[in-house]
C-alpha cells in the first residue's frame, strides 16, 4: 500500500510540466557550479601540488557542490512538500484516502517515500557529474558516499517537516511558506549563534549535514536525522488522526 501511494505521488509529479521544468533548471545549476568548481580546481592545482597533504579533486569539487545541493534543497523541498496533504485537502481528494482501508501511517509514509524518491532523482545529477571526474583522476569514493548518505538524510528531514506543515493547513501556499520559514529559521539560527556549543547549532539539520559534508560519519548526526524525521512523521500521522476526529 505504501508503495502504491508512493508511485501515485510520483506519477502525479511527473504528470505536471512544472516538475520537468524544475528538474531541468536544477540540473543546469548543478552543472554550471560543477564546471565552475572544476575550473577553480584546475587553476589552483599547481599550487595544491606543492602542499604536503593537499586536498584532492573530490574535496575541492564535491564538498562545495553537495553543500550547494543541500542549500538549494532547503528552498526546493517546501515547494514539493506543500502539495502532499494540503492540496489533497483543498481538492477534496483526501476523502478518498481517508475512506480507503489505509492506516494514517500508510498515508504518511507513502507520501514521504514518494517524495523522497523524487528528490533523490532530482539530486542524482550531482554524484553522477562527480563520477565523470573518475575518468581523469582518482576519486575519494568514501567522501562521495558519505555526502550522498548525508544528503539523503537531510532531504528526509526536510520532507518530514514539510509533510507535517502540509498536514496542518488546506492552503498549499501557506504550507510552503510555513515549511520554508521553519527550515530557513533553523538554518539562520545555526549560522547566527555565536557560541561554539550553542544548542541552536544542534537543532539545525544543516549543521549536522556539515560533518557528512566534510567526510565525517558521526552516528550522533545520523541519529539526529532519524529522530528529527521520525518525530515530524509521527506528528503528521497524529494530525491526520485529528483530522478524522475534529474534521
Amino acid at each position: 500500500m505504501i508503495r502504491l501511494l508512493a508511485v501515485r505521488e510520483l506519477r502525479s509529479l511527473f504528470a505536471m510540466p512544472s516538475t520537468w521544468f524544475v528538474l531541468a533548471a536544477l540540473q543546469f545549476i548543478f552543472a554550471w557550479f560543477f564546471l565552475e568548481l572544476l575550473q577553480v580546481f584546475l587553476d589552483i592545482q599547481p599550487q595544491l601540488a606543492q602542499l604536503a597533504n593537499a586536498p584532492g579533486a573530490t574535496a575541492t569539487v564535491a564538498t562545495p557542490l553537495f553543500n550547494l545541493a543541500a542549500l538549494l534543497l532547503m528552498m526546493l523541498a517546501p515547494m514539493f512538500t506543500m502539495r502532499l496533504i494540503a492540496e489533497e485537502r483543498r481538492n477534496q481528494t483526501l476523502a478518498l484516502l481517508l475512506s480507503a482501508p489505509l492506516a494514517n501511517r500508510q498515508i504518511v509514509l507513502g507520501k514521504f517515500f514518494g517524495l523522497l524518491i523524487f528528490l533523490a532523482i532530482l539530486t542524482a545529477g550531482v554524484p553522477l557529474m562527480l563520477c565523470t571526474l573518475a575518468l581523469g583522476t582518482h576519486l575519494d569514493f568514501g567522501l562521495l558516499l558519505g555526502n550522498m548518505l548525508g544528503l539523503l538524510l537531510l532531504t528526509a528531514s526536510y520532507i518530514a517537516v514539510g509533510l507535517y506543515i502540509s498536514a496542518l493547513t488546506a492552503q498549499p501556499v501557506i504550507a510552503a511558506i510555513g515549511a520554508l520559514a521553519v527550515l530557513a529559521g533553523l538554518w539562520l539560527a545555526d549560522i547566527a549563534a555565536s557560541a561554539e556549543n550553542s544548542l541552536l547549532h544542534h537543532l539545525s539539520p544543516l549543521y549536522h549535514f556539515r560533518n557528512f559534508n566534510s567526510g565525517l560519519l558521526d552516528s550522533a548526526d545520523a541519529a539526529y536525522f532519524v529522530l528529527f524525521t521520525v518525530m515530524f512523521l509521527l506528528l503528521a500521522m497524529k494530525r491526520l488522526q485529528n483530522n478524522r476526529r475534529y474534521g
Binding site: M1, N91, A95, L96, S99
Partner: protein
C-alpha cells in the same frame, strides 16, 4: 439487537451477509455545536436508501462518519457503533473500509492522472489484487459510460464525466456498501437518468446509500427513505409510503370553457376548489376518493373543453411540513415546522 451477542460463528456470518451497514447512536458536534443527534441506520443487501434533507441538514456529515472519514463523538461513552458487513468500523477500520465505496460531495479526483490510471489506483487502494483489476476496470468503465475516455487526462474532461469517474471509483472494487453523496449534482437531465439507472442496477447486488435534496430522486431510485432535518432522522419508511405522505391529493385543471367553480366543487370527493385564473382551477380531494374520472366525464358532457389535468407534486418543503405536522407537536417539531413554512 439480535446480532449484538452472536452465539455462534454461523449466526454472525448470516447477519453479516444480510445487513451490510448497521450504525447506532451516531452523534457529532463541531466545537460546541451539535450537528448530528443520535442517528441510527440499518441497510440490507440489495436495498437503496435515500437520505433526504435540506442543505446543511447533516447528510454529508453522517455519510462521512459512515465511511470513516470522520469519527463520531466519544464512541465509547455514547454506546455508538458502526458495523460494515459485521465488522466494527471504529475498531477495525482497515478491514471494514475494504467493503465501502464512497463518492464524496466533490468527486475525489487526481486531475493530472488519466482515467485508467486513476481507476486502477482506486481499485488497488481498496485492496484489489492486481490480477483482478484489469477486468474490473473494463467492466466499470462500461457501466459508467467511460469506455471512450480511458486514456484522457481527468482534468480535461467535463463535469459530467468527472462525476461519472467519481462513481466509477466508488464501485470498481465491487463493495458491499456504496455511499454516494449527491451523485447527480451538476449533471444534465440525460446523464441524471443514466446515473439513476446505474444506481438502481447497483442496488441489486450491493447496498446503496445516497444523499439528496431532490424528492424526485428518492421517488425514482430509492427503496427506502430517511428524512433528515437539523441533524436528526425525523422520518423513515419505504419510499412508496413517503410518496403517499408527499403527494398532495389534488390536481390543477385547465378548462377552456369553464363552469362556475361551485359546480366543480359539487363533484363527489372534491374538498375544495380554488380559481387560479379564468381557466385554471386547483382542485383538492380526499386521498382515497379521486374524482378525476367523474370530472372528465362531466367535462365531456358539458363541453368544458378540458385542456390540461396535472396532479399536484409536493415539494420537499410540503413533505416536511406534513411529516412533522402529522406527529405529535413537541416543541422541537413545532420549530421544525415553523422553519419549513417560512423557508
Amino acid at each position: 439487537m439480535s446480532n449484538a451477542t452472536p452465539p455462534a460463528n454461523q449466526t454472525a456470518g448470516q447477519s453479516a451477509s444480510d445487513i451490510t451497514l448497521s450504525a447506532r447512536n451516531l452523534t457529532r458536534s463541531f466545537g460546541s455545536r451539535q450537528v448530528i443527534h443520535n442517528v441510527s441506520l440499518e441497510i440490507r443487501r440489495g436495498e437503496v436508501l435515500g437520505l433526504l434533507g435540506h442543505n446543511g441538514a447533516g447528510k454529508s456529515t453522517t455519510l462521512q462518519m459512515l465511511t470513516g472519514c470522520l469519527l463520531p463523538d466519544d464512541a465509547k461513552n455514547n454506546d455508538c457503533s458502526i458495523e460494515i458487513c459485521g465488522i466494527d468500523l471504529l475498531r477495525h477500520p482497515a478491514q471494514a473500509k475494504a467493503h465501502i465505496g464512497y463518492l464524496p460531495e466533490t468527486p475525489p479526483l487526481y486531475r493530472e492522472l488519466s482515467v485508467n490510471d486513476y481507476l486502477i489506483f482506486a481499485a488497488r487502494l481498496r485492496g484489489m489484487k492486481p490480477a483482478a483489476v484489469a477486468e474490473a476496470l473494463d467492466q466499470t468503465k462500461q457501466r459508467c459510460g467511460l469506455d471512450t475516455v480511458g486514456s484522457k487526462i481527468i482534468g480535461t474532461l467535463s463535469k459530467g464525466y468527472q462525476q461519472r469517474i467519481g462513481i466509477a471509483q466508488a464501485i470498481i472494487h465491487r463493495p458491499a456498501l456504496i455511499v454516494l453523496d449527491e451523485p447527480t449534482i451538476g449533471l444534465d437531465p440525460t446523464q441524471i437518468r443514466e446515473i439513476r439507472g446505474l444506481i438502481r442496477e447497483l442496488g441489486d447486488s450491493s447496498s446503496v446509500i445516497l444523499s439528496t435534496h431532490l424528492l424526485g430522486e428518492v421517488e425514482s431510485v430509492c427503496d427506502r427513505v430517511e428524512i433528515m432535518q437539523h441533524g436528526k432522522l425525523i422520518y423513515g419508511d419505504t419510499s412508496e409510503h413517503m410518496q403517499r405522505h408527499g403527494s398532495v391529493s389534488g390536481f390543477i385543471i385547465s378548462l377552456r370553457n369553464p363552469p362556475p367553480p361551485c359546480e366543480l366543487g359539487s363533484i363527489g370527493g372534491v374538498t375544495s376548489v380554488e380559481q387560479l385564473s379564468s381557466t385554471q382551477f386547483r382542485v383538492l380531494h380526499a386521498p382515497d376518493n379521486n374524482p378525476s374520472g367523474a370530472l372528465l366525464q362531466l367535462a365531456a358532457q358539458h363541453n368544458w373543453q378540458l385542456e390540461q389535468l396535472t396532479p399536484l407534486q409536493a415539494t420537499l418543503e410540503e413533505v416536511f411540513v406534513k411529516i412533522t405536522g402529522d406527529e405529535t407537536a413537541s416543541t422541537e417539531k413545532a420549530a421544525a415546522q415553523h422553519s419549513g413554512e417560512t423557508a
